[in-house]
């Protein structure tokens, strides 16, 4: 299985471009200006120094995030809405299937939450807008507020787009298996296919609880018109509580030429795991299956050999980790207050220098090297003694 959220791309692009356009044209190189700004304003990103004033003149001039104007808000279902946003021009665009973070301030606190872009890149290229579909997470801290708080005309912060480029290629037959709000990146991919007039045979298996939970219904209908080879199967799994129809082998058997297809999975972790197993059983080669692991919370982690002594060297605190909590949580329960953002390995806000020891990335299961490197606190657990610059 491929891990499709590739952070590096998004982060590298995210740094420094914001004021490049303005300053590079003035004379000395960007690095010179940046160096000078650092001397004068004592910060890594000197462009942000002016934010407090610029923001109060025009919120779209802020540099610490990319501002986007909310154009329209449309209800998809009883608990989801699609926001059409117009980002500031310096936003770098995106590829089909990518994600972005919404950056918002609620009660004085900054939150960064990942969402998939639900339109094709042509929207951005042609009229400078993008759409993001938000589904309310029951008991969530941010999504219910997001859905209530914003009105057309408001300004919301966004990050640059990140994640693997899933722009559809001509030729390959495809199978999408999605559940709930996992449909959103697929809408982007299908729309991109239609824009490119691709004729690949495509089957979309879309699992929702009931008919009232279908997100992007209109868009899917329109896409069915534009994509003659699209086979659309929306399964309302719990429409009839007596006869639930959850993902099973029969759904896959109905897909023509299954083993030839490129498969793309997006949805709740349970559904994706199940789909992976079913595809493997049906003989689909692993390299043809890719997925977006999107709705993963911190959860309890059980890894062999995990756990060890964690030394936070800057504050000189040592804790014993049993390996069942991420380093971020270990640090927080030790009374530290490390910077964090998404808490799910996406935004790199909590990145920190590990000076020695091995940590295991819980999303990939991969152990790190021994030496000094930057790690994300929110997705790593220690394997043996670890020293962190915190």
């Amino acid at each position: 299985m491929q891990e499709s959220i590739n952070m590096e791309k998004g982060v590298d692009r995210g740094q420094g471009r914001s004021y490049r356009g303005v300053l590079a044209r003035v004379g000395p190189g960007r690095d010179t200006w940046r160096w000078l700004g650092q001397q004068l304003f004592n910060r890594e990103n000197p462009a942000m120094y002016f934010d407090p004033l610029l923001e109060s003149i025009n919120p779209l001039w802020a540099q610490r995030y990319i501002p986007a104007r909310v154009e329209t808000i449309e209800a998809e279902t009883h608990d989801s809405k699609t926001l059409t946003l117009r980002p500031a021009r310096r936003w770098g665009g995106f590829r089909a299937g990518q994600h972005l973070n919404l950056e918002v301030e609620k009660d004085g606190r900054w939150y960064s939450r990942p969402f998939s872009l639900s339109c094709s890149p042509s929207h951005w290229e042609q009229d400078g807008t993008i759409t993001v579909t938000i589904k309310k997470v029951a008991d969530g801290e941010i999504t219910p507020w997001l859905l209530e708080h914003f009105q057309p005309g408001d300004v919301i912060g966004i990050s640059r787009a990140y994640g693997e480029d899933h722009t559809p290629e001509p030729g390959h037959p495809m199978l999408f298996i999605t559940g709930g709000s996992g449909i959103t990146p697929v809408l982007s991919q299908l729309e991109a296919m239609a824009d490119r007039h691709l004729r690949n045979p495509v089957t979309l298996l879309y699992f929702v609880r009931t008919d009232a939970d279908v997100i992007g219904g209109c868009k899917l209908e329109a896409l069915a018109e534009r994509l003659p080879n699209l086979e659309l199967r929306i399964v309302a799994a719990e429409q009839d509580p007596q006869n639930p129809d959850h993902l099973g082998p029969h759904h896959l058997q109905a897909v023509e030429g299954l083993t030839e297809r490129d498969c793309f999975l997006c949805g709740p972790p349970g559904l994706m795991k199940h789909a992976q197993n079913l595809l493997a059983d049906a003989g689909v080669p692993e390299e043809q299956v890719s997925s977006t692991l999107f709705a993963v919370g911190p959860g309890v982690v059980v890894t062999e050999d995990a756990g060890g002594t964690v030394h936070f060297s800057r504050s000189d605190i040592t804790v014993e980790s049993a390996g069942d909590r991420r380093l971020l949580e270990e640090a927080e329960s030790a009374g530290l207050n490390p910077r964090y953002g998404c808490r799910m390995g996406i935004c790199h806000q909590c990145s920190c220098r590990k000076t020695s020891g091995i940590v295991i990335n819980q999303q990939t299961g991969q152990p790190s090297g021994y030496g000094e490197e930057t790690i994300q606190l929110c997705i790593n657990v220690p394997q043996g003694a670890v020293e962190l610059d915190l």
């Binding site: 004068l40 407090p52 004085g108 806000q349």
Partner: protein
Amino acid sequence: MQKLSEEQLENLAQDLDAIRNEQMADLGQKDADYIRGIIRLHRTLEFGGRALMPLGFIPPFFLAGMTSLGIAKILENMEIGHNVMHGQYDWMNDPELNSQTYEWDTICTADSWKRTHNYEHHTYTNVIGKDRDYGYAVLRLEDETPWKPMHLLQMINFINLSVFFQWGVGVHELEFEKLRSGEVTLREKAEFLRDFARKGGRQVFKDYAFYPALTLPVAPVVIAGNFGANLIRNLWASSVIFCGHFTEDAESFTEEECENESRGHWYLRQLTGSSNFTGPNWVYTLSGHLSHQIEHHVFPDIPAYRYREISPQVQAVCEKYGLHYNADSFPRQYATVLKRVTAFSLPDRMRERLFPEFNEGDEQGKVADRTTSTSLVSRLRNRVSSTLSAAA
């Protein structure tokens, strides 16, 4: 020092924790709006000051530019930098207001400050030998430290420290006195010196090279104005800090008193080792709310502008345990600082005779000394406090 029983200390800790928890639970938009408003004011004053400075050959513009930049530096250092680095706004999760990454507009690096101030000074407040902020290793302010003839001239140190305060704070971690005694070596301080040179160079470059060069024909005026702005900040910042711990009634402690201390004992030390000054709200803001040094020391990571509101609650706690809540106007507190610096510059015998109010002894003796004190300031203060207590 004022003593409380173990049980009283435990209750004291509980009472103060309750105030703290109530405040922490209430953090929200109000605090974010407040600090952002201050930052906007700072940027406006800084850009305004720097823009006026080249016109400084016209005296009123010089004065306006210098004052504007001076106040900007004061706000940045005290209400923004100091408080942000204490982690008062970490909960906002704003990378611009994060205690780990904030760097302020002064010679001292943020990292050095956080080590010497947030850690050493706030943990070992007024503990002689451990809190190097108590006298900054250039002032003798208590009789634990043996008197030497050089102390006779410590008023000169005091003036120098006030005028060049940012440099004093900048080299504070060099621990010059320990270097001289051989306790630490220069090699151990290499990293500190490198960071100090980088940050110091940056600050000097900005105020004395870059901005003057930008306005070349009037560069001397700009240099003078920037020097003046830094001087204004140095004098004010040092005065505020001296009034926080060096006043007549602020207590100091010995290491033995503080070994294995409880949380309650730490609280007690913060309450009795700090002193407040009173004034209008704008003075509080300009002091970064270190006017409320007592509240700051018991709750260093609560957004400082809240100290004003909490003050009556903290006073009530002090009253409950019979502790002296040391608050007075700024001029009076500053006068007692000068008195302390003068008193301890003298040999002990002479001081005991001339400044009996600083004599150690049991509390009753101290009170008796106070009433017989001939100093005009303390007589005035006693009259005010007795009128106040009579009114109460």
